[in-house]
Symmetry: C2
Subunit: 216 residues, 2 copies
DNA sequence: ACGATAACCGCATTCAGTGCCATTTCGCCA
DNA sequence: TGGCGAAATGGCACTGAATGCGGTTATCGT
């Protein structure tokens, strides 16, 4: 029951697996619905499980906690960044590759589009437990990306520096977002936010980009 | 009872306040003792309260949660950074000031010295709830520092960029630390940790140091 | 010394999360 | 196709964090 033990063989999609995926989605949907209607704290796991027509106990076979419901495909997004790094161009430096990878995640992020994403954005700012979890996920992603980056440039950067570099990039972006998204006005204009983020990250990251281009 | 409502008048330290401070310290001490002996998850709030000779209910008048016990003076440290920024030298740029502020926090941090600090370091790596809280505190500190930085350089940097810059610095340092402290060897030798921290900071911030010295 | 205020703390309650275990469902192979 | 082993389900009981309520006690300012 624990995790996706059914995905033993890559190609195979058993009935069990499909059913499992369906139930999982039902849980996310039910949670989305209830969160939207009643708020995060006001919705209990029992409510969600009932709405998805499974037992309360069974819920924990799908998600380890209530917060996880708001980060249903975080692995996928990290994987996208990892892939972007793995497919480095021949003349790219670490900073360029990293920037490209993070932009990819940010761009095809369906933020604003999907309902879960909207809820996530909302609850990250209002519910401490959710914010804590979000930061943790980010922190772990940061490390994996850094590791991958070091692996992609074995003789240019070690793992410590790679994770530090990744931390700097992600830190800059999320720092800028933290301030920008505090302004309820701005939330209504995605293009403006993107613009402001780019400007802020330029300020914060210029030295690294210069440095990776080598001395001029 | 909520927070330090007794600190109405700056100069006054009433009996009540002193007693309150003593009880608070007793809680931290009791928790330290029990955490060291039995571990974090194995120690309940009821245990801690009992050891400090107060009712379980009263505990929540001092700390909002079990995690807070591991971050008893986080405000003080942030304040130190804020002060360091406020006292900017006339020829310092934002990056120098920020670097000086963060070094100050890192230096007179009694990490390794005090028992709570050692426990914090340990549990941040092993207990998800503690890590989540630590990241949250860091995130908030980041914002305040950025705000102060923007205030110190009103016509050189706006708040968004200031927080982004701070995020980049802190992200780089904590990223490096994340990797360095993973090595259990290193934890046994405080001087080595400080050394590693400094080295990591240097590695992560080298581009900035170069850049702020101007083009060469 | 006294009235207001804040601290203390027991009690009951809610909810997250876990361990245990009986039952059902499904995958796979003979 | 039948049946065996593994995994999913979910009920029950339990622990522990956290909050609300309310009565009692200690402290403060006057």
């Amino acid at each position: 029951m624990l995790v996706c033990a059914g995905c033993r063989y890559a190609g195979r999609v058993s009935l069990r697996d499909r059913k499992r995926a369906r139930t999982r989605q039902a849980l996310v949907d039910a949670a989305t619905e209830l969160f939207e209607r009643n708020g995060y704290d006001e919705t209990t796991i029992a409510d969600i499980a009932a709405a998805a027509e499974i037992g309360t106990r069974t819920f924990f076979g799908y998600f380890a906690s209530k917060e996880e419901l708001l980060f249903p495909e975080s692995d996928v997004r990290v994987q996208a960044a990892l892939d972007a790094i793995a497919s480095r161009g021949p003349d790219e430096g670490p900073a360029e590759v990293l920037l490209r990878a993070l932009r990819k995640v940010g761009d095809d992020s369906d933020e604003m589009v999907s309902r879960v994403a909207a809820l996530r954005l909302r609850f990250v700012r209002t519910v401490p437990a959710v914010r804590g979890r979000a930061l943790q996920i980010q922190f772990e992603a940061q490390r994996e990306i850094g590791r991958q980056l070091a692996a992609a440039f074995p003789d240019e950067i070690d793992e410590v520096s790679a994770v530090a570099l990744t931390g700097a990039f992600i830190g800059a972006v999320s720092g800028a977002l933290q301030v920008l998204l505090d302004d309820p006005e701005r939330l209504r204009d995605p293009a403006g936010v993107r613009e402001a983020v780019n400007r802020a990250t330029d300020v914060a990251l210029t030295p690294w980009l210069r440095a990776s281009r080598g001395p001029e």
